[in-house]
């Protein structure tokens, strides 16, 4: 089995500043870390390898300094790493990023499962994972909270929903994006960190992944940011009111209509 994990470096803050003029995120002077959701993806890949055997590869598109994130992934137990880095990739939106990563995955050859974090904490789009699957023409399930089982042909996963979860089986190769409920990521070990220091990182430019120049970077990005703003806060769920008896009645009725009872 070959497990590929796509990761991203993000600023180490939950309060990213937005450049009002360009509508992009201000990344200067902020320490970069592995996108927290991608840590669950890395951990899951390592666990799957421990369970089913095989190898793990981590891939990232980013500037040369993204190598730090790749080495950290190796420190936790990922076998090999690919850095896709080229000035031509700069300014990529989610479409161009998905295109670039899918091109790199094609260049890697055979794989069984691609794992992504559900979204990055800077852009928060949650589009790149599913985008990669579409471009590779493979099935995908987003928001996976548990991998029930896996064999050479299929994978059975639980997809987290607001009102429970869906049990989904799909053929391999395929892609999943994972939520934080899926595992507790391990910390790196000293031995792993030593390995990471010495590890060879594969560096690919647009040429090595056979990327079409019109599909990458700013040129390949159909998105144009017109305006950027904070969306309204999510509303709470349904609040049942009345006497305890009335509330119980309403609750039972609700559970019956949703077929949970």
């Amino acid at each position: 089995m070959h497990f590929i994990v796509c990761i991203k470096q993000v600023p180490n803050t939950t309060n990213v500043q937005i450049d009002q003029k360009t509508g992009t995120l201000k990344r200067e002077g902020v320490e970069s870390i592995i996108n927290p959701f991608d840590e669950y993806a890395l951990e899951e890949a390592i666990r799957l390898k421990e369970r089913f055997g095989g190898k793990t590869t981590v891939v990232t598109m980013g500037p040369p300094q993204a190598e730090t994130a790749l080495r950290e992934a190796i420190g936790r137990g990922i076998d090999s790493a690919v850095l896709i880095s080229d000035r031509a990739f700069a300014g990529a939106d989610t479409w161009a990023t998905a295109y670039t990563l899918s091109s790199a995955i094609k260049a890697l050859g055979d794989y069984d499962l691609i794992i992504c974090g559900k979204q990055a904490t800077d852009g928060d789009t949650a589009q790149v994972g599913p985008g990669i699957a579409e471009m590779l023409d493979i099935p995908h399930v987003a928001y996976v909270k548990k991998i029930e089982d896996m064999n050479q042909e299929t994978i059975k996963v639980e997809r987290m929903m607001e009102d429970g979860y869906d049990l989904i089986e799909m053929p391999l190769p395929s892609l999943i994006s994972v939520v934080k409920e899926i595992n507790t990521p391990r910390l790196p070990s000293l031995r792993g960190m030593m390995n990471a220091k010495k590890a060879q990182i594969l560096r690919w430019t647009a040429k090595e992944i056979n990327a079409e120049p019109n599909n990458i970077g700013l040129t390949g990005s159909p998105t144009q940011v017109m305006k950027i703003f904070s969306p309204p806060h999510r509303q709470g769920g349904v609040k049942l009111e009345g006497s305890p008896e009335e509330i119980a009645e309403q609750l039972i009725a609700k559970l019956k209509t949703t077929q949970l009872l």
């Binding site: 391990r186 910390l187 790196p188 070990s189 000293l190 031995r191 960190m193 030593m194 220091k197």
Partner: protein, 386 residues
């Protein structure tokens, strides 16, 4: 201060910090309150390969010496001075093997300790033999291929949880200090039991119990070094381990200093953060200077020990342990002072740091014993000049 750590040393510090922050910090109050043994954290330390940093690579460790141990212990103790003892006290129990055991014994016991699979403990102290170890009453009588141990050790850190014990017993009471020998005793050996668990002021996450030997027969292969060499091994062990206690003290002090600085910036009195008052500023400045001075002494002692293996460093070890532990007591007391009334409350971490700090001036030789060691070394050095 830049201590010019190597990349490897920096990795140990970063990793220890991560574990301390992510794994220890959320549970430190729990273990302080309950006194449960922090096995989940020990497992984390083991998985991170931090249990054997000071053990040579040929026995499964990282070969980073006393300095490696010091860096890890300091970093962990910045967050919790008690939980980290599972690792630091294991080092104390392991040094007799590192310093006095033969290759066969090392191969048998060190790899499991290095991997964190097993913990170790050091059994020297007895109720009537604290600072004066030569007064010990535990005996080991040779009987064919065995030694038969009888007696009680007290205040033994990691007792009951550790698998491997280095125990000191008298094989020839007529010879006094030269009659003491060192043995490796495995948990589960018939006749080897544990006494009551001590209820302590601080380092409550660390377990302290008696070791009770009642006709405990151990194979003669478990003798470390030669018969009668026990006290020398114990003294060499303390030379090697005191920088570890010093590092624990240093970590506790540095942790308290960080807490005090951060708090002083948020606590508003008379319309201003209290860090703007010179009274507080001078306290913080003194605390920081003392912590840095302690760090210099501890690091340099550890580096000297690693650079000159086999050389006795009694004076320097005593100096760094004495100074760092006294600084820890002073700095943690002042950290509580900076916090004011809140510092006395258990909701804030500094009262625990003050309780944890106190032990460092007591165990592995009180501050007074360290001064005796230093003075004795000074007099000896002077006497040998001509």
């Amino acid at each position: 201060m830049d201590y010019f750590l190597t990349e490897e040393q920096q990795m140990m510090v970063d990793l220890s910090k991560k574990i301390a922050q992510e794994k220890m910090k959320p549970v430190r109050e729990h273990y302080d309150e309950t006194g449960d043994f922090p096995w989940p954290i020990v497992h984390e330390l083991a998985k991170a390969d931090l249990c054997g940093v000071y053990i040579p690579q040929e026995y499964g460790g990282f070969g980073s010496g006393v300095f490696g141990l010091v860096l890890v212990v300091e970093e962990l103790c910045k967050v919790d001075g008690g939980i980290s003892l599972a690792l630091a006290a294991t080092a104390l129990g392991t040094f007799p093997i590192l310093l006095g055991a033969n290759d066969e014994q090392k191969k048998k016991y060190l790899p499991d300790i290095a991997s964190g699979k097993k913990l170790a403990a050091f059994g020297l102290t007895e109720p009537e033999a604290g600072s004066d170890a030569t007064a010990m009453r535990t005996t080991a009588k040779k009987d064919g291929d065995f030694y038969v141990l009888n007696g009680t050790k007290c205040f033994i850190t990691n007792a009951g949880e550790a698998e491997t014990y280095t125990v000191f017993a008298n094989t020839n009471p007529a010879r006094g200090a030269r009659g003491i020998s060192c043995f490796i005793v495995e948990k589960g050996t018939p006749g080897f039991d544990f006494g009551k668990k001590e209820n302590k002021m601080g380092i409550r996450a660390s377990i302290t119990k008696e070791l009770i030997f009642n006709n405990c027969r151990i194979p003669k292969e478990n003798l470390v070094g030669k018969e009668g060499h026990g006290l020398i091994i114990a003294q060499a062990t303390l030379d090697a381990s005191r920088p570890g206690v010093a590092a624990q003290a240093l970590g506790i002090a540095a942790g308290a200093l960080d807490e005090a600085i951060a708090y002083s910036r948020t606590r508003i009195q008379q319309g201003k953060p209290i860090c703007s008052f010179q009274g507080i500023q001078h306290m913080l400045a003194d605390m920081a200077t003392e912590v840095e001075a302690a760090r210099c002494l501890v690091y340099q002692t550890a580096r000297m020990m690693d650079a000159t293996p086999g050389k006795r460093t009694t004076k320097e070890s005593a100096m760094c342990k004495l100074y760092a532990s006294e600084v820890a007591m002073k700095v943690t007391t002042n950290a509580v002072q900076v916090f004011g009334g809140y510092g006395y409350m258990k909701e804030y971490p500094v009262e625990k740091m003050m309780r944890d700090a106190k032990i460092t001036t007591l165990y592995e030789g009180t501050s007074q014993i360290q001064r005796n060691e230093i003075a004795l070394a000074l007099i000896k050095e002077s006497a040998s000049k001509k």
